[in-house]
């Protein structure tokens, strides 16, 4: 245990990786809260899968492998995917879930075509694009962490700035419109931040599992509080906790992939919260029901009417 903390503070690689995962956890937890409350949990899944062709195309077009270039491609592809999902569901009879499924799988399939195409190019020093599938925390260097932290700070700052507007959008969009707020624009900004949060996580967790980092911390946090601000802070904390513990597990246990480890950690937090959270938690509810029944019986009531 002591050795672990020692490593966390003094082992340069581990510290870098843990910092990156922590930053990712904070941002995805905070923005994921809004995605969950707006019933857009699975949109995050579609966006992260759709990022793959963006990454591949960015590489094909620029020949550049730096994280910033590839992640820009990912962000653009994610934004296009979101736009398509909304319009397919809005303009035709095809429903939202089908639109999500199509965009998610078709974008991912196209990304795969590009990826395999790149691999067969003779000149390509392509190695490394695959790491975006499952993420590769160990390959994260200081520069990546700086990019992640920079993007994350921008996202969190905007979230803080437009807090009131985002809350209004999530709770009662029509009411906001009647007060004169351009809700479509506010929606666009919040969705862009969601894309940003996903992009930040791609290197560490990968496109396949990124959606869990949006959903799980928020769902866990929701159980402990009825206050949006506390929920967002708690989700950020849970996200960071899972991120750090997942990467630490990955670096201390041999052949433990970081992305899945993070997901298991965050799912553990969900289970804990759903079972043990005061008032909302399952055990709390069961206990309350039990006490009520006891009191009822003490008053002379009959069992199961």
């Amino acid at each position: 245990m002591i050795e672990l903390f020692n490593n966390l503070f003094f082992d340069h690689t581990l510290r870098t990786v843990a910092l990156g995962a922590g930053a990712l956890g904070i941002v995805s937890g905070a923005l994921g809260s809004f995605a969950v409350l707006r019933r857009q949990s699975l949109l995050g899944d579609a966006i992260s899968h759709a990022a793959l062709p963006g990454i591949a195309l960015a590489f094909l077009l620029t020949g550049n492998k730096s994280a910033l270039v590839l992640l820009s491609g990912a962000a653009i592809a994610g934004a296009i995917a979101t736009w398509l999902v909304t319009n397919i569901a809005g303009l035709t009879r095809v429903k939202y879930d089908s639109a999500l499924g199509i965009i998610l799988s078709v974008f991912f399939g196209f990304g795969l075509v590009l990826l395999t195409y790149i691999q067969k190019q003779p000149n390509a020093n392509q190695a490394g694009l695959e790491k975006y599938l499952f993420g590769q925390a160990a390959a994260i260097v200081e520069k990546d962490v700086l990019i992640m932290a920079g993007l994350g700070l921008v996202a969190l700052f905007l979230l803080f700035l437009f807090w009131k507007e985002f809350k209004l959008l999530s709770f009662d969009r029509d009411f906001g419109t009647t007060m004169g707020y351009p809700m479509a624009l506010i929606d666009f900004v919040l969705t862009t931040l969601l894309v940003l949060a996903i992009v930040i996580g791609l290197q560490t967790v990968g496109v396949v599992l990124m959606s869990a980092m949006l959903i799980a911390p928020a769902v866990a946090a929701r159980q402990w509080t009825d206050n949006l601000a506390i929920m967002v802070l708690l989700a950020a904390f849970f996200g960071a906790l899972a991120g750090v513990s997942g990467t630490v597990a990955s670096s201390t246990i041999s052949r433990m992939p970081a992305g899945p480890a993070i997901v298991v950690a965050v799912s553990f937090l969900v289970v804990l919260s759903i079972l043990f959270a005061p008032r909302r938690g399952v055990i709390w509810q069961r206990g309350r029901d039990y006490l009520l029944r006891q009191r009822f019986r003490a008053l002379g009531g009959k069992k199961d009417v």
Binding site: V36, R39, Q40, S41, L42, D45, H49, I88, L91, T92, R93, V94, K95, D97, S98, L100, G101, I102, L104, S105, V106, F107, F108, G109, F110, G111, L112, V113, L114, L115, T116, Y117, K120, E130, L133, F134, V208, L209, S211, A212, L214, I215, A216, A218, V219, R222, Q223, R255, M256, P257, G259, P260, A261, V263, V264, S267, I274, R280, G281, V282
Partner: protein, 370 residues
Amino acid sequence: MFSPQVEIMLIASVVAVACAIVGVFLVLRSMAMMSDAISHSVLLGIVLAFFLTRDLASPALIIGAAVMGLITVFLVEMLHQTRLVYEDAAIGIVFPLLFSIAVILISRHAANIHLDTDAVLLGELAFAPFDRFIYQGVDLGPKALYIMGAILMVNIFFITIFFKELKIVTFDPQLAAVLGISPVVVHYALMSLVSITAVGAFDAVGSILVVALMIAPPATAYLLTDRLHIMIGLSALLGVASALGGYAMAHYLDASIAGSMATVAGLIFAIAFLFAPGRGLLSVAKRRVEQRWNFALVTLAIHLWHREKLSPVVGNAYAIQELRQHLRWSSTYFTSVMERALKQGLIAKRDQYVQLTEEGRNLAREGQGF
């Protein structure tokens, strides 16, 4: 038996049809994302079954996978029923967890398992012909073809036998319950089919592209027809088209076959999305424009008609200038509406005055609905 190319196309087509016909019900029941969840979590079933049997060819793997698919459905429902988690969030929590556990197990025991996470995720159809089904020294063709063929048969059998039940449960679950058809039983039966189809298919195309084959062709068919049995047939056909088109594309680009199939399935959907008669974007836009003109014409007719009744003048001719002020339309819009009305014989024009024709009066009456 055949050349490997033909075998690959054959396997791809069988996979596509098997996926498409169960996918129809997922699309109609708004459960498309369940295919995403199931196709990921079946991996855990395969891994666990492998630990028990130590045999990658064992049929127990398919059973294990199908059971895990049902467990996924069950866990999602359980989470949702606590009323603490929205349904979409429940899906988004359960399958990444099960999939992560599977990936961890695979990488921890990589030396013992010939399962490669990349292959699971992405599939590799090109290798399918190498795994032969050999009985008493006779090569009967690729194993994948037999497995997928069997799964396809099961799907067809189930959907044919229980067509009526599936239809009622899909379109009117309450009526189904009244008629004594348990929606729950049908639901879990359908989810079992999705699970075994996902297991069989992901060997060939990988877990994420199973979603493409299950959702894209049925959603395309949904844009083209209203009849359930036509939708099923059309989905199967579109699935085969995606499979063959995808193979051609992969061959041309020397790229992933599964990815190409998904891409082609997406392109076919895009074509239907834009051009489907009646429901595509183009028809909808065209209809909206026509509708706007029709509204304008009816509004004009009703307006003139009202004035005939309320303030009759000789010959019922009204000054165009005055009319425009009343309708408050922009002058270009007003001019084109007037042109259309003239062309359709709804109004007659003399100098700067217009009057309603009998035809125009009829339109106004119709528009008023009295």
